[in-house]
């Protein structure tokens, strides 16, 4: 039987690959450009440390795993926790029911404060009530600007998505856009829908909505391409997240369209794109600030009885516009993954 020769050659393949990789490494096959070595050592934004008694704070968000944006929120929260001598417990689940369980979990751990996002306020109503009856202060951040007071949260840090959308629409008017497509990467997400609605409200041109599958980048790319081809009058792509804006750049060139691109939220590569001019502007809601302030406010409340926003008004962290004129100031922080 010659069975063996065929299988053996397949089994050898990985071994050969390992050997090849090792050989390449030994041969000094290092990249002369880019890479880790070219990176400058960036200093972390860390202030002095408070001497107040150790306290525990839970931050419970509706983050789905691996989202750049939430990573920045978390970094802000961690910076505040380090400064304030706080033990930070971070947990997240995009499913509202699960998120509510995570809050209950924090209550059971008898934490000194809870910071939550209100992506689906109704699902969290009961558990917020429980926290209050357990005398645990609760603050909100990021999502739920219109619901935090109803639920009895102390303070709120975030961006009013509708307001941000409206500001975005006005900016488009100023830039002379006529027709935009608002790309939603997660169908059914309230915050993303509010952004598009806000844009539609103030933008004097035509606004289309396009749903894309955010977990499959090639699909995002070709769907935006398809939309641009279907309607060649589109002259501005409104992306709702930095990675999608960067993908839209490729779609625009694939479709041979002249559309420009603007986006909500920032990251490192996006600041580069703005300074290069491939992306026009970004609306930043300063996620780092949201995480930082939410944790810091619980520390202030515990140690000095302070309310940010006076307990009446939300503390708005956005919309802050980043475009070519101010991108240089922002980019070095974005490179650290904190802006």
């Amino acid at each position: 039987m010659d069975r063996s020769s065929h299988p053996r050659s397949r089994r050898i393949a990985p071994v050969v690959a390992v050997a090849a990789a090792a050989a390449l490494t030994l041969a000094g096959c290092s990249s002369s450009s880019g890479g880790k070595k070219s990176e400058e050592g960036g200093a972390n934004a860390s202030a002095g440390k408070a001497t107040t008694p150790r306290m525990t704070v839970a931050l419970v968000t509706h983050q789905s795993p691996g989202d750049t944006f939430w990573d920045i929120v978390r970094k802000g929260a961690e910076a505040a926790a380090a400064k304030d001598n706080i033990k930070l417990i971070y947990s997240s689940d995009p499913n509202a029911g699960n998120q509510s369980n995570l809050v209950q979990n924090a209550i059971d751990q008898k934490v000194d404060g809870i910071a939550i996002t209100l992506a689906k306020p109704d699902a969290l109503k009961a558990v917020v009530g429980k926290a209050k009856s357990a005398n645990i202060p609760v603050v909100g951040l990021n999502s739920g600007v219109s619901d935090w007071k109803k639920l009895g949260l102390m303070e709120f840090f975030g961006q009013d998505e509708s307001v941000a959308g409206e500001a975005f629409g006005k900016k488009l008017n100023d830039l002379g856009a006529k027709h935009t497509v608002c790309v939603i990467q997660e169908q059914g997400n309230v915050g993303l829908t509010q952004r598009c609605d806000g844009v539609k409200k103030t933008f004097s041109g035509k606004t289309d909505v396009l749903y894309v599958n955010g977990t499959d980048m090639p699909s995002v790319k070709s769907t935006i391409t398809a939309k641009l081809k279907q309607d060649s009058s589109i002259d501005y792509v409104t992306a709702l997240g930095a990675p999608y804006a960067l993908t839209a750049v490729q779609s625009v060139s694939d479709a041979g369209s002249k559309a420009k691109i603007a986006t909500f939220d920032l990251n490192k590569d996006l600041t580069t794109a703005i300074s290069k001019g491939t992306i026009q502007f970004a609306v930043d809601q300063q996620p780092y600030l949201q995480g930082y302030l939410a944790i810091d406010s619980l520390w202030l409340y515990k140690n000095n009885g302070n309310y940010m926003g006076g307990g009446e008004q939300p503390v708005l962290t956005g919309p802050a516009f980043v475009d070519k004129s101010n991108v240089d100031a922002v980019s070095k922080f974005a490179a650290n993954g904190t802006r």
Binding site: M1, D2, S5, H6, S9
Partner: protein, 304 residues
Amino acid sequence: MTDNTSKTHGAILQDAAPGTDDGVIVELRNAGKAYGNIRALHGVSLKVRPGQVTCVLGDNGAGKSTLIKIISGLHQHTEGEFLVDGAPVRFTTPRDALDRGIATVYQDLATVPLMPVWRNFFLGSEMTKGPWPVRRLDIEKMKQTADHELREMGIVLDNLEQPIGTLSGGQRQCVAIARAVYFGARVLILDEPTAALGVKQSGVVLKYIAAARERGLGVIFITHNPHHAYMVGDHFSVLRLGTMELSAERSQITLEELTNHMAGGAELAALKHELSQVSGVDVEELPEKEDLTAPVAASPEGTS
């Protein structure tokens, strides 16, 4: 390897039994098998000669399938000896058994139902041509060979491309038998080939068993039907509860005796006693214990 197979094919009759005087190909001597502390088979002796049909009979759980698994290389025996051509062996895979010319045709899993007849015929021993990496199946040759071999066995199919699942149960068994014969089988183990078949289909399969014997193969015919066994058998072994209850040549035993052994005379008598205490069961017609242990004309189960 293609040539290899054909050589083996042509050499079946010649190299039937090199090391032994009476031509025994497969022999078990007091063989047994224990799964942990459960003894599935114990003290079984069996000889398979070319051109003879050795029938192994037994009720469910008698150890028939364990016996097949040992001979076909799926399991290893844990006691006694297992000899092929007079030399002790211990197979670790079915491939080992196949390489020694022992082929097994299983009751349900003889074939892959959705695959065409010719692919099933050559499955696991496909004919190929061309050098690697462009070595490919020699489809024309395989189809021709399959058709020829099936005709030799008296099976005529006008479309070898049809999935084997569309054939009748008997036809499928026959394809499996023809296949084993072609691939140089000297010993053919048939696991209950007639169990799931109707009367007519069973007859067809029995004819092919006889045909295989005519071609000089040693056949181990596993069944629980003494009537089928007696139609084609040369030697009969009856298994009960993992041990050998009877081992007899055809000339030493009648169909009635075989049937009684199969039915388990003593056990039936005890059952009759129990049934007599249940109202509504007519036990008058059932045979007495004496009838069951002696060779008599009455058949306790009737004909099946």
